[in-house]
Amino acid sequence: MMAKTMTSITSTSLFIRRNKASLSTLFFLVVMMTCFLIANPKVFTNAAIYNAVFITLPVAIFLVVPLVFTVTGGEIDLSFPSNMAMASWVFSLLIQKGMPPVLGLIVAIGVGMGIGVIIGLIVVYGHLSSLVCTLGFNFFLRGFIMILTEGRSITVLEVQDGLFHNVLAGTFLGLPAQMGWALLFTLICVLVFNRHCYGVRVRCVGDNPQSAEQMGINVNRVRISFFIFVGLGASLAGVFSVLINFSWWPTTGDGYLLTALASVFVGGTPTWGGVGTVVGGALGATIVSFMETGVVAAGLTGFYVQFFKGLIIILSLLAHRYSSKRYR
């Protein structure tokens, strides 16, 4: 009896110790929502605001979760906004040409991952800084899109009311279906990150690439995979954004560059590599999304959004400072 209580206490404390980063992110989310609730109870007890957030939050989650892998692996990818636009551009064009949307989705994923392969090969075998190289790619791909489209957007009304749209981005149990897909994506990624040898290798490579190499991990291959994975997430985010808006803009994805990146760190993944949290990343994306909607809903003008976003990023980093320690 005694022993049983003891083990349950130690296993609880072990759970807390292992999930410090994501738990403190969750705590932060709860505090923030409480503040919003106090500031404007009428808006925040109404389901409408949650629905509004859940419509676009999935797009952010598809971007943030792969970025958690990348940052944990000691790299960074800033090309995802343009990659998102490229993949969804191809998707929109194919739909317009009358291709079945499922095939369009597959091709879009291929485009996103293909761009990831190219970027990964260049970064790894060119021995380039992933920060600068992917930043370059972000401009380059966006410029490419702008030149070819001359800045024109595409309307994709073809998918409206179709099975494809309803399954991916319709309404399910009164909630946006895309939220379910984003949760499923997060769940799979949590399992891969924590339980699969790929996730373990990502952490080893981010922790100490020389050690990983010496123990026989193919470090180059793992590093290239980060960019492919980000490409996968970007293409999914792009397709979902087209399905949600029924249109594609040449600027698609632009607004996500800094917010998706911030979400990774707000979620509790440190900048130095080796450790990270997928759940934290998804929660970080949630924090940032509610922030954007919440500030306006709380009765402040849109001018305050950036102000509070910045404040929350700084506060959350301070909070994580106390929960995460870097071992050398």
Partner: protein
């Protein structure tokens, strides 16, 4: 005549204009303990990193059990039954002890379930394996479990993790690169008894050290490297005391002392 496990033939390796190895040959036979000796910068670590598949030699051949090998790399080397405790220990310090022990072979030690065939890790059985290993190595501290972060361990305990990892995979050949540096006396003694156990079980060891007294006590055969070249290969019959060996090495150092081969920078 015992069969060779691995043979390096005429290996050269340079870093920029530093010739770390210049035509070195080395053979390790089954069941023997080879002591690899030499000053700092002699090329010992470079040589064993070539054995371990971490570095590719500029020229020379590697033969595994008398078969020539191509595409030698770290993962191939481990698959062939060679485990290495590197001088820098090759640990990932922000990860747990279990993760370090199974690094590079993440699905090892799992039951053959569908999930593990898909690459998922059986943490429970790996945890049990790690616990057993830590006990074998003499990791007695009650504070640490296999789930402790390696960054919280002392230098000697970290060396214990690196050795436990080499021990786990039933390697035919275990390479230890200066394993006793920065260890306490009792920890050093543990490493020696570990080497004796490995030898007793019929497996081979390459033991690197620059403390000749240490190496002399446990090795059957010695290979002395100096500035990228093998200057002496001998058995205990040739040199019966460490002092004789030290005398030889001092001779070598004097005779070549003036020649600038550019390999002695640290």
């Amino acid at each position: 005549m015992k069969s060779p496990i691995i043979t390096l033939q005429d290996i050269s390796k340079s870093f920029g204009n530093v010739y770390a190895l210049d035509g070195v040959s080395l053979q390790v036979k089954a069941g023997e303990v080879v002591g690899l000796i030499g000053d700092n910068g002699a090329g010992k670590s470079t040589l064993i990193k070539i054995l371990a598949g971490v570095y590719t030699p500029d020229s020379g051949a590697i033969r595994l059990k008398d078969q020539p090998v191509t595409d030698w790399n770290a993962s191939r080397s481990r698959q062939s039954g060679i485990e290495t405790v590197f001088q820098d220990r090759a640990l990932v310090v922000q990860q747990t002890i279990v993760r370090n022990i199974f690094m590079g072979r993440e699905t090892a030690g799992s039951s053959a379930s569908l999930l593990s065939r898909l690459g998922f890790i059986d943490h429970k059985s790996q945890y049990a394996e790690a616990e057993r290993l830590m006990r074998d190595i003499g990791f007695t501290s009650e504070v640490f479990t296999p789930d402790s972060i390696v960054g919280t361990l002392s230098g000697g305990e970290r060396q214990g993790v690196a050795i436990a990892r080499a021990l786990y995979f039933d390697a035919e050949l275990i390479i230890l690169d200066e394993p006793t540096t920065a260890l306490s006396l009792t920890e050093t003694e543990k490493v020696f008894s570990f080497v004796r156990n490995v030898k007793a079980s019929g497996r081979s060891v390459v033991f690197i050290g620059h403390n000749i007294y240490h190496v002399f006590g446990i090795a059957d055969r010695f290979v002395v490297l100096d500035r990228g070249k093998v200057v002496l290969e001998c058995t205990k019959e040739d040199y019966q005391t460490p002092e004789e060996l030290i005398g030889f090495m001092q001779q070598v150092a004097q005779s070549e002392g003036g020649t600038p081969s550019g390999s002695s920078e640290e």
